[in-house]
């Protein structure tokens, strides 16, 4: 094994990214991601990482620079949050639709307005239709480990899509946990050297992405959707390979926690999952048959796995750290409902909390379980539960 070190989520992100031997990094600082950029700069400027570090003047350029480098055959990395993600949306959408792999870290942060810099998942949720593979981490160890897994998933010939590794701004990015750091040799054994295609190559001249007629474009979009579907299998394979080499499995697309004999289930995303598990344990002690499903991958959305995990339960609630404007609920609740085809045979509701840095506490999770327990015999949709501290 590697060495055991205490580090923040951001440090885990850049340590993991560096182990993947990126050719080029271009990233713009933004709270709460800045130390990812600084950490990588430190490694490059001190000769600890052989990579080109490009000092960009905005996130739009960060994504554009890495896109150019990837088109020229490089393994690339960037990181951002909220406003930066919004600013880079134009080349971000193009990254996935060009079908060129890369990995990006997203320290999730609430979107302005109201003016904010704090934790939330609205930024990540806002881009879920941009064609990237998107996953959420619960712990700092998971952040580091998923950097390695993400490159493997992205670069798999069945996938060829960029991966967005998300983790909670501040709650994960800035807080310290103890990590097992793989050695460079171990990382190399897991993630081979990049053998990506050079798209812009004078030796093999071609136009990269010329004006495309609709009839052809529809094939490209279908291929993209098919690749997302194929990615589900690749995600499970990579989790298994990682477990075989490092002894840590995260469950692949979803993680199930005490769900086998559960009556009621909370579905969580990201760091809140730890709090949720504590609340489930406490409920179990009181004789409530509670369970938790951690939604690890949001894109591709693990519809079948989620539906299978919820089968036979009486009630479920999805805790979103974001909102779906126009639906009076959270976005992952909406998608979970869609995945569970016979949703109204369950009792279900959306829970929204932890917006803009507000704490999503143990007490909040307990209240979700309490409501689930109260309504579990009343199938159908129930009102959205706002986890406020009034």
């Amino acid at each position: 094994m590697g060495k055991l070190v205490a580090m923040t989520g951001n440090t885990a992100a850049y340590t993991g990214a560096a182990l993947c031997r990126p050719d080029l990094i271009a990233a713009y600082p933004i709270t709460p991601q800045s130390s990812v950029v600084e950490g990588l700069a430190g490694m490059v400027y001190n000769g600890k990482l052989d990579a080109s570090f490009v000092q960009v003047e905005s996130e739009h350029s960060a994504m554009s620079v890495v896109q150019g480098a990837a088109a020229a055959g490089g393994r690339v990395f960037t990181a951002t949050s909220a406003q930066g993600l919004a600013l880079m949306y134009e080349p971000y959408f193009r990254m996935s639709t060009l079908r060129i792999p890369m990995v990006m870290a997203l320290a999730t942060r609430e979107m302005t307005s109201p003016e904010t810099i704090w934790s939330g998942q609205q930024d990540a949720m806002s881009v879920r239709e941009a064609g990237w593979i998107q996953l959420f981490c619960e712990s700092n160890q998971e952040i580091l480990d998923m950097m390695l897994q993400a490159y493997r998933i992205a670069e798999d010939p069945r996938v060829q899509l960029p991966v967005n590794v998300c983790y909670d701004g501040f709650y994960s990015s800035h807080l310290i946990e103890g990590l097992d750091i793989p050695s460079q040799a171990e990382a190399d054994a897991f993630l081979p050297a990049y053998a990506g295609k050079t798209y812009l190559d004078p030796g093999q001249p071609a136009a990269l992405d010329p004006l495309t007629p609709g009839e052809l474009m529809m094939h490209y979009r279908k291929n993209h959707l098919d690749a997302m579907k194929a990615a589900q299998e690749v995600i499970e394979e990579v989790d298994a390979k990682f477990a075989a080499q490092f002894g840590r499995s995260y469950g692949g697309l979803i993680e199930e926690y005490k769900t086998e004999d559960a009556d009621i289930v909370i579905v969580t995303i990201g760091g809140m999952s730890g709090t949720g598990k504590d609340a489930v344990d406490a409920a179990r002690e009181k004789g409530i048959r509670a369970g938790l499903i951690k939604l690890r991958f949001v894109r591709p959305f693990p519809a079948e796995k989620l539906a299978a995990a919820l089968r036979g339960k009486k009630a479920f609630a999805v805790v979103d750290r974001s909102v779906s404007f126009g639906w009076s609920c959270g976005p992952m609740y909406m998608e979970t409902r869609a995945a569970v085809v016979d949703a109204d045979s369950y009792a279900h509701f959306s829970a929204i909390g932890g917006l803009g840095g507000a704490d999503l506490s143990y007490g909040h999770m307990r209240s979700v379980i309490e409501k689930l327990d109260a309504i579990k015999n009343e199938p159908g949709a129930h009102d959205t539960l706002w986890l406020m501290n009034d």
Binding site: E215, L216, H219
Partner: protein, 99 residues
Amino acid sequence: MAADTQKEVQAMLYQELILALRDRAGDSDSERWRVVRPVMDKGRCTDCGACIEFCPMATIFADGAVIRIRYEGCIGCGICAVNCRIHAITMEPSPDWHN
């Protein structure tokens, strides 16, 4: 369907689609819609190359020492005629233009 057969079918469909789009794109040759085209009087022409210099469509070329007009891609803008220092090029009706 087996993965290989599926790939073959997909490749075939792509080929057909691309050929169909190519047909639909039509003729890129400007001959049929160009109204006028330049005609060089090689008797006056001194092969100075001013026409090559300024032709935006790169349709004038050097055939060894002699300058000739290829016409492929020429859209009859008239820049060559205007910039010829000794007026050795005139713009004349393009023979294939259909009114």
